[in-house]
């Protein structure tokens, strides 16, 4: 099934990326081309093959449950675009 402009708009909504109206058709064509390129994977039988999420099949290493980090919030707040009372500032969410 070929990807449609409507689907592209839905996906862009999910990804929080705005697409201008005049770009939709061209972008749909481009993404359709890429999706049909990756569609060739469908021809390969992968029954009984486990997915490989980590290339070395490694398992997550866990460290001891000890606090090792120091509070560096001031440093991190200093590079934020907008801050108030040591909090990140965003437009009003609740009226």
């Amino acid at each position: 099934m070929s990807i449609t402009p409507k689907q592209i708009l839905e996906v862009s909504d999910l990804a929080r990326i705005k697409i201008e109206r005049e770009e939709v058709d061209l972008l749909t064509d481009k993404i359709r081309e890429i999706i049909s390129f990756v569609d060739k994977l469908k021809g390969t039988d992968t029954n009984e093959i486990e997915p490989l999420f980590n290339p070395l099949d490694a398992v997550q290493t866990l460290r001891a449950d000890e606090i090792t980090e120091i509070d560096e919030s001031t440093k991190f707040l200093s590079i934020a675009p907008s801050v108030e009372n040591n909090l990140f500032l965003v437009p009003k969410v609740i009226d």
Binding site: I3, Q7, I8, V11, S12, L14, A15, R16, I17, K18, L27, K30, I31, E33, I34, I35, F37, V38, D39, K40, L41, K42, T44, T46, I49, E50, P51, L52, F53, N54, P55, L56, A58, Q60, T61, L62, R63, T68, E72, K75, F76, S78, I79, A80, P81, S82, F88, V90, P91, K92, V93
Partner: protein
């Protein structure tokens, strides 16, 4: 004495130890070249001359008092994807044009501890998404061998800086070939280590199960020196591998007698430029002369590697890049009307076209109804690809093939053709999907543009790759050929 800027890292290290020159002289020599020549290549995004010279002064004091570390006093350029405390880290994007990290990537801390000087931050495709360094917000980077050609990407700035002798060595990252392809296009040596060999902490994430930092330099000997500094387990990266610290320089001199090299040229011959095939065959003859046994092998599943990669990489990228929302750091749109508008406009204005396209593809293949069809399917095929490599690597010590389809292509020639650009990764993505180490080294020059060969090794066997690459470079001089003398004699 050879000019400072022409020397390898090993030569600079020896010269500094013998006090033939100071770190300040070395650092000034490279800074001077960057200032006078980088307008031709656009290899650097950020230079901090004052900091570099201050670090060089400290290095000179250390050398004077005999407190040298491995790289004391040697300037190294870093891909602008590694966070550098107090120094802008843009990842080639408008999104991070104002981002000055409050911490260092582990790789940067390791270089600092080794005494190296940060020469500057190099140009790259935006968020490492590209194979030409044309998608950088800071303008395209140009190949020093021919400025009408791309330097490759995404670590194009690092490769161009080394080829133009603006830096003796650099860091790069490789998600689908981003160290090896520009190394091939610029006539330098670049190693993508085994997944997990080098910490990814503070290395801005593109596709976390594929991303791997690595060294780029003129020679394999220098790459080994850089590997000694960069590698090692890091508690801050839970995917970094728990391996004993290795000395990658220790085995460089070993002879190649009895080494088995699998050759994949038959698989590739239909797509390869004839002149490039000749270079590859000549390199094979050389390897044979050095004592290696060549065994023809085939990797039929590799034809699935590029489409597999272009499902997994955008999927992981769409997740990783969701962090850029205009709230905590990076670009924020003006006068957002509400929270959704803040997210959407900050992302739409901050990301370039290729990044947006990949986020959209990634979001699509991860969305309900398509996840199994694309993402899980690609991860299953990834296992088939890795199994095929592992099966070959039971019979041979490494696999030799082309790094790219040919020499560097013209600037602009592929920017409107995504598939053609993606196919640039045909020979390199397999090693990323399988997690295997792979190196590209120069093996010839076609129409005044260099080409490389790729050697893919067993898990965590970078040492043998560097050994073969070094022995090849002892016997040949392709790695010593340079674009620079011709232009600036």
């Amino acid at each position: 004495m050879m000019e400072i800027h022409s020397q390898s890292i090993a030569q600079l290290r020896d010269g500094l130890r013998r006090k033939e020159f100071s770190s300040e002289e070395v650092t000034r020599a490279f800074l001077k070249r960057i200032k006078s020549l980088d307008h031709l290549y656009n290899a650097f995004i950020t230079i901090d001359e004052k900091e570099a010279l201050a670090a060089a002064a400290i290095a000179d004091q250390k050398i004077a008092s005999g407190r040298n570390e491995v790289l004391t006093g040697i300037p190294i350029a870093h891909k602008d994807i590694f966070c550098t405390q107090g120094m802008k880290t843009s990842c080639g994007s408008k999104m991070l044009a104002n981002f000055v990290p409050p911490y260092n990537a582990t790789v940067i801390s390791k270089f600092n501890d080794s005494g190296a000087i940060i020469l500057g931050k190099t140009n790259m495709d935006e968020f490492a998404m590209g194979g030409s360094t044309e998608t950088s917000f800071y303008g395209a980077c140009f190949n020093p061998w021919n400025t009408k050609k791309v330097p490759g990407g995404s670590s194009g700035g690092s490769a161009a800086a080394i080829a133009a002798l603006l830096a003796p060595g650099a860091t790069g990252t490789d998600t689908g070939g981003s160290i090896r392809q520009p190394s091939s296009f610029c006539g330098i040596t670049g190693l993508k280590p085994t997944y997990g060999r080098i910490s990814r902490f503070g290395m801005i994430a593109f596709a976390s199960s594929l991303d791997q930092g690595g060294p780029m330099a003129k020679t394999a000997e220098d790459c080994a020196l850089l590997m000694n500094v960069m590698s090692g387990i890091d508690p801050k990266d839970s995917t970094s591998a728990n391996k004993e610290k290795e000395d990658f320089s220790a085995n460089l001199s070993q002879k190649l007698d009895g080494l088995k090299i699998g050759v994949t040229l038959k698989d590739c011959s239909a797509n390869l430029d004839r002149d490039y095939q000749i270079c590859l065959e000549r390199a094979l003859t050389q390897l044979e002369k050095l004592g290696a046994e060549l065994i023809e092998i085939s990797l039929p599943k590799n034809s699935l590697a590029v489409p597999t990669y272009y499902v997994i990489a955008p999927a992981e990228a769409s997740s990783n890049l969701s962090r850029f929302d205009g709230v905590r750091y990076g670009y924020r749109c003006d006068n957002p009307e509400n929270l959704l508008d803040l997210y959407t406009r900050s992302r739409s204005e901050g990301f370039g076209d290729e990044v947006k396209r990949r986020i959209l593809i990634g979001t699509y293949v991860l969305s309900a109804g398509y996840y199994d069809q694309y993402y899980t399917k690609a991860q299953r095929i990834r296992r088939l690809i890795r199994n095929e490599y592992l099966s070959c690597l039971r019979d041979v010590d490494m696999i030799m093939g082309p790094t790219t389809a040919g020499p560097a292509f013209d600037i602009g020639s592929k920017s409107n053709d995504s598939i053609s650009m993606y196919l640039e990764d045909t020979y390199t993505v397999g090693a990323n999907l399988a997690g295997l180490p792979a190196i590209s080294i120069p093996i010839g020059v076609i129409n005044e543009c260099p080409v490389g060969m790729q050697l893919i090794g067993r898990d965590f066997d970078e040492s043998t790759l560097l050994n073969v690459a070094h022995q090849f470079q002892v016997a040949t001089d392709w790695h010593l050929q340079s674009s620079v003398e011709r232009d600036y004699a």
